[in-house]
Structure formats: structure tokens, C-alpha cells
């Protein structure tokens, strides 16, 4: 499949944000990206006409009940069959920030025993509490499982977070076993770290939300479903970096680190289909 033939669906509902930034980044990588309203997809259009699905950030359905909960359940209740077929055919699904919350609530991540009816993990209120908008460093734990990281050849990435509920947690008694499983299955993709790659070890603000084991992003066992709290589309162009003048002196670098995720997905799709 040629790159410009790859059709990406960026799904939106009331409260979605960064869908346009995501579209711009995906198109700059060379894919064809469309922002599609959830209602449009669940009634008129067919998910199977797309090669990749992105659930972007924001505050879907006002974050009522719990961040990502309403959309997550709605997604599976109305399009569950299509979503399963989409995944079975190896078409990638990416959840960014609120999109990650949606994938967790939908039972699409971490998929330790396949898609789960009830959420297996939570993205709880940040600790320390409050909305955190800052640039963080991410350490790549495993490049080979997720199809979104295969083009990443360096150890750390710099990408911003912006959320109040991003604290990745497993349930109290089961947490150790679930974490071990995540690590052994090579589903742990990104952890918050210092600039030099040393783990944050739970320390704020390097770990901006108190996530268990500094977890910032995880993927499904087969690597095609991937969710992360940081926003790669906000670190796509070099000029999106808040201090590029200090970094380069004259001109911003053409690209930031976020594009590596989209580039990896594009390469995967070119080869796969």
C-alpha cells in the first residue's frame, strides 16, 4: 500500500481536542487523515474503510462519570464487532491522553486476556492532584512490540503531557501480578524519566501524575493497540518545542520527537497492506 493510500480515521465527539493537530501531523507524514464524528461512523460510514483509528485527547462527553468512561463503553456497545475485526486484521488503534483513558475504559488495553468487559486498569486522578501541563521525558522500554515505536532509535523522547487524570494504576491486591505480566509480555512501552534516561522513580514532576512504575504508555500484546498520556501531535514540529530558540539559536529543528510514532505506524501499514 502506498503511503498516501493509507486512510486514518481520527474519531471525535463533543469535548474532543487536538484532532486537527493530529490530522496535520498524520498528513505531514504522508497519510490521508480524516476527522470523523463518532455518530457519523456509527451510522453512515464504515470503520472498515479505514486502515488506522486514532482516539484523540480532550474531555470526551465532559469527562462525566469518569474520564473516558462514557465514550469507552459507547464505542464497544455500538461498534464492538467492527473494532474487534479491525484489531484482528492488524489495523492499528492509537489512543492519546483522553483517547488512552477511552481505550482503558473500553477494555481494549491492556488486553491481558483479550478484550475485557470491565476495565483492567485505571487512569486515576494525578498525585499530586491537579491538572499538569508540562514537557516530560519518556524512556522507551521496548521498541519491538508496539507498531508505533519501531522507528524510534533513541532511548528517550521529549513530549508534553496535559491532564488531570493520568495516574496509571492496577488494582491493589492484583497490582504486582498485573505489572509483572505487562512487563513480561513486553507491553510496557514508555516510562517517565529524567533527560538522561534515568527513571523518575515516582518523583514529581519527572513523573507528572504519580503513575505506578512511572508508566506513561502501554500496548496490547500484539502491539497494534497503543495508548499513552503524552501528546505526540503536540511535539510533531520542531517549533512546537517551547524552548527551540535556546536549543538551536536560529531556526527550530524541522521535527520534534512526536512524529516518530506516526512515522512508525505509516511504515507498518505500508508493509502490512
Amino acid at each position: 500500500m502506498n503511503r498516501d493510500e493509507i486512510r486514518v480515521c481520527i474519531l471525535r465527539v463533543a469535548g474532543t481536542n487536538c484532532d486537527r493537530e493530529t490530522k496535520t501531523a498524520l498528513q505531514d507524514v504522508g497519510m490521508t487523515a480524516e476527522v470523523v464524528h463518532f455518530k457519523q461512523l456509527s451510522t453512515k460510514e464504515n470503520l472498515m474503510e479505514y486502515d488506522m483509528l486514532v482516539v484523540p485527547g480532550g474531555f470526551s462527553h465532559g469527562d462525566y462519570v469518569r474520564a473516558g468512561a462514557i465514550w469507552g463503553k459507547k464505542l464497544m456497545a455500538t461498534m464492538g464487532k467492527d473494532i474487534r475485526r479491525f484489531m484482528d486484521e492488524g489495523r492499528p488503534i492509537l489512543g492519546i491522553c483522553n483517547g488512552f483513558q477511552v481505550l482503558i475504559e473500553a477494555g481494549l488495553l491492556p488486553q491481558s486476556q483479550g478484550v475485557s468487559r470491565f476495565p483492567e486498569a485505571a487512569l486515576a486522578s494525578n498525585s499530586p492532584s491537579g491538572y499538569n501541563c508540562r514537557w516530560v521525558y519518556l524512556r522507551l522500554e521496548t521498541a519491538n512490540t508496539s507498531i508505533f515505536t519501531k522507528r524510534i532509535l533513541k532511548r528517550t523522547l521529549r513530549i508534553p503531557v496535559a491532564h488531570a487524570e493520568g495516574r496509571f494504576l492496577f488494582e491493589g491486591k492484583k497490582a504486582d501480578r498485573q505489572l509483572e505480566e505487562l512487563i513480561n509480555n513486553r507491553q510496557l512501552v514508555f516510562r517517565y524519566c529524567h533527560e538522561d534516561g534515568e527513571y523518575a522513580d515516582g518523583k514529581y514532576p519527572i513523573n507528572p501524575n504519580g503513575s505506578l512504575y512511572d508508566i506513561a504508555g502501554i500496548c496490547s500484546p500484539c502491539g497494534t493497540v497503543f495508548g499513552l498520556m503524552p501528546h505526540p501531535e503536540r511535539a510533531y514540529f520542531g517549533w512546537q518545542s517551547p524552548n527551540w530558540t535556546m536549543e538551536t539559536g536560529k531556526e527550530p529543528a524541522p521535527y520534534g520527537d512526536g512524529g516518530l510514532l506516526f512515522e512508525s505506524a505509516a511504515e507498518y501499514l505500508e508493509k502490512k497492506f
Binding site: R66, K73, E120, A122, N126, S127, R167
Partner: protein, 84 residues
């Protein structure tokens, strides 16, 4: 089919961060009340149809598990009574 009214309470499991509770607690202390802690819960009042109370209760339990609570961080309790 009868109508039933359920009162569902969703609360955070012990030890989880409760920003609203912490902020409210601080505000009450600022008003000089000797408040030790504040925990915020959500109450949903749900009216639903079911053949019998047991059926209504089982549906409410499923509603809590599927949508209203995340088992990783939330506890839930509910009471179901005939709607007047």
C-alpha cells in the same frame, strides 16, 4: 413491569487521591472548622423497570461494574426500593 428506584454511591477506594476532597478540606480549615478529612462520593439516583427487586438489583450491580465504577479505584454500594 414495576418501577424501581436505586440510590448508588460511588466512592474512591482507601488511599486513592481525592483532589476535590483535599481542596474542600483545606477550604473548611481556612474557615476555621476543625476538619480532619473530607472524602467526596458520587450519588446516582436511578429509576428503572424490572420484574422484581432481585432483577433490579442485579441490573444495578452490572451498571456499577460496567460504567459507574472502575474496579481498580472505586467502591460502590446501592439500595433498591420500589418507586412511588
Amino acid at each position: 413491569m414495576q418501577h424501581w428506584k436505586a440510590r448508588v454511591e460511588i466512592s474512591l477506594k482507601p488511599g486513592h487521591v481525592d483532589p476535590e476532597g483535599e481542596t474542600t478540606c483545606q477550604s473548611l480549615r481556612d474557615l476555621t472548622y476543625p476538619v480532619k478529612s473530607v472524602a467526596v462520593s458520587k450519588i446516582y439516583t436511578i429509576t428503572l423497570e424490572a420484574e422484581a427487586q432481585a432483577d433490579a438489583e442485579s441490573q444495578i450491580k452490572e451498571i456499577c461494574q460496567r460504567l459507574l465504577a472502575n474496579p481498580t479505584k472505586d467502591d460502590f454500594t446501592y439500595q433498591v426500593a420500589e418507586a412511588k
